[in-house]
């Protein structure tokens, strides 16, 4: 009888504490940013980072949104569809699609591989190739970078083929004033945007110092890097011993300077910079084995490696306040982990699978901050 009474007491205490525990879990916010998600139901989802609730579903007219790029003031989004044929302009303030165009016509389809919108919003550069269906075959055109006027939708120029033979696989990025265009391939090539002539070339494909291997790193933009700075994991092969090494590099585009250090043998781990630039996080994924890595960028070391029950094809981005880690990609979930303990806090289930996931720190509609491609 006494046992029963004790159990009832415990139960009463648990029931009393339950709302408080739930409330504590609910108030755990990652910051005041905004997440834009391309969704398979032909919409751009706007997600409030503080609650991870969908605040708006903006339908697009050209199909499944895939590539997404924000204007410098974060008020306009440029979307390329999954069929790689259309560019759509979305007004994020009004929450609606306001324009779209395609370069395909007749039996010729122009597939757009990459895009970079001029910071002034006047034109877009499209890396594209044409595919013409003839009676007995397809005729595949040369890859070219086209300058398309965003008002008239006319192709007004073509970036000369003499500019960077590596341009096909390169990322494109404008300088903040729009005067320079950077091609990020094995080397970084800067061209002026008047006539698209090369003005500078940074041969990162060659070793930075004697005795070093060639540095391989991605120039994907982090929401937490300063303008013109790229912090990322790099890999290189020691030319003497043939060992694959990895490390962290901080590339300053304007000053053509690289600050780098090695961490140790190369492993299949990703890297995502945390806000403030003092830490980074990574995911190591193998079948049945998943790890969170924490990089101490001040101490220039790997701070911790923690195994966790992950899944294949995860992507990671730290929250805008640095306290949480979001795991997304390949599906309709966002897993929220504590950045310090790596404890799974909750999983947010969305009503659509995602194609793209952009986190914009701060008040996205007004902060005028950076964008991600």
């Amino acid at each position: 009888m006494a046992d029963m009474s004790d159990k009832m007491s415990y139960l009463a205490v648990l029931i009393a504490l339950l709302p408080a525990a739930l409330a504590a879990q609910q108030v755990r916010s990652g910051g005041n940013g905004t997440i834009y998600m391309g969704a398979y139901n032909e919409a751009v989802y706007v997600i409030d980072e503080a609650t991870l609730e969908v605040t708006e579903r903006i339908p697009v007219t050209t199909g499944i949104p895939n590539l997404m790029q924000l204007s410098p003031d974060n008020r306009t989004m440029y979307v390329r569809d999954a069929a790689m044929e259309h560019i759509e302009v979305v007004d994020l303030v009004e929450g609606r699609s306001i324009d779209s165009f395609t370069l395909s016509e007749g039996n010729t389809r122009v597939r757009i591989r990459s895009m970079a919108v001029d910071p002034g919003g006047e034109y877009v550069l499209l890396g594209a190739r044409s595919y013409t269906k003839l009676l007995d075959r397809f005729e595949i055109g040369e890859f070219s970078i086209l300058r398309v006027d965003l008002d008239s939708h006319e192709v007004t120029d073509t970036v000369p083929t003499s500019v960077g033979e590596q341009r096909q696989g390169a990322n494109l990025m404008f300088s903040p004033d729009g005067d320079l265009l950077y091609f990020f391939g094995r080397d970084i090539i800067a061209v002026e945007t008047g006539n698209f002539t090369e003005v500078d070339r940074w041969e990162l494909s060659q070793p930075l110092e004697e005795g070093l291997g060639r540095m391989n790193m991605s120039f994907q933009r982090s929401p937490y890097d300063e303008e013109g700075i790229f912090t990322n994991l790099f890999r290189m092969t020691d030319p003497v011993q043939g060992r694959q090494m990895m490390g962290i590099a901080r590339v300053n585009l304007a000053e053509q300077d690289v600050d780098f250090y090695t961490l140790g043998p190369s492993e299949r781990v990703s890297f995502a910079l945390a806000p403030g630039g003092r830490k980074g996080y990574g995911l190591r994924s193998e079948i049945g084995f998943y790890e969170f890595w924490t990089f101490d960028l001040e101490g220039r070391r790997v701070e911790s490696r923690v195994e966790f029950p992950g899944r294949p094809r995860m992507s990671l981005v730290p929250s805008s306040n640095g306290e949480l880690l979001y795991i997304y990609n390949a599906g309709n979930t966002i897993d929220v982990y504590d950045a310090d303990t790596h404890e799974l806090l909750r999983t947010v289930w969305l009503d659509a699978d995602m194609t793209r996931f952009l986190l914009v720190p701060g008040d996205a509609a007004t902060n005028g901050g950076g964008s991600q491609g």
């Binding site: 070793p207 079948i287 899944r311 599906g331 009503d351 699978d353 194609t355």
Partner: protein
């Protein structure tokens, strides 16, 4: 004072440096005639000594996988961008749409680029409502 290679290894280094333009050709060097065997096999082993600051050998390209997925009919055969399987999805529903998207895996998932662009139209979240996906008959 110019140096003369005294053994096979030193000769290879001279050959390498000549190729880089760092030293005059061996025949212009002063010194005694090279010892017997010093030049044996020079051609077949040329450039196997790599100087620290020299030009590096090209990195072999990663496997070229057209549009990300398999283009052959082989159930269960799919590779990730590195040519392995570690990057593939579990559960499989998570990968259904991304296989459909541009990388079209024609034997298993309808081709989004040309023939079935609206295949996912009635099913936004594959894990939840994959039963709504339509059967496609080519």
């Amino acid at each position: 004072m110019a140096l003369k290679p005294i053994n096979r290894k030193a000769d290879r280094m001279v050959t390498y440096l000549e190729h880089q333009g760092a030293v005059p050709p061996a025949e212009q060097m002063a010194g005694p005639v090279d010892p017997a065997g010093a030049n044996a096999g020079v051609d077949e082993n040329a450039e196997d000594v790599v100087a620290l600051g020299g030009r590096l050998p090209e990195i072999p390209e990663i496997p070229h996988i057209p549009l990300g997925c398999s283009l052959v009919f082989a159930p269960g055969w799919e590779v990730d961008e590195a040519g392995g399987t570690a990057g593939l999805c579990q559960p499989v529903e998570r990968d259904l749409f991304d296989c459909h998207l541009a990388c079209f895996w024609p034997a298993h998932v309808p081709d989004q680029l040309n023939h079935s662009p609206d295949w996912t139209g009635k099913c936004a979240a594959a894990q939840n409502d994959w039963r709504k996906l339509e059967m496609i008959f080519p």
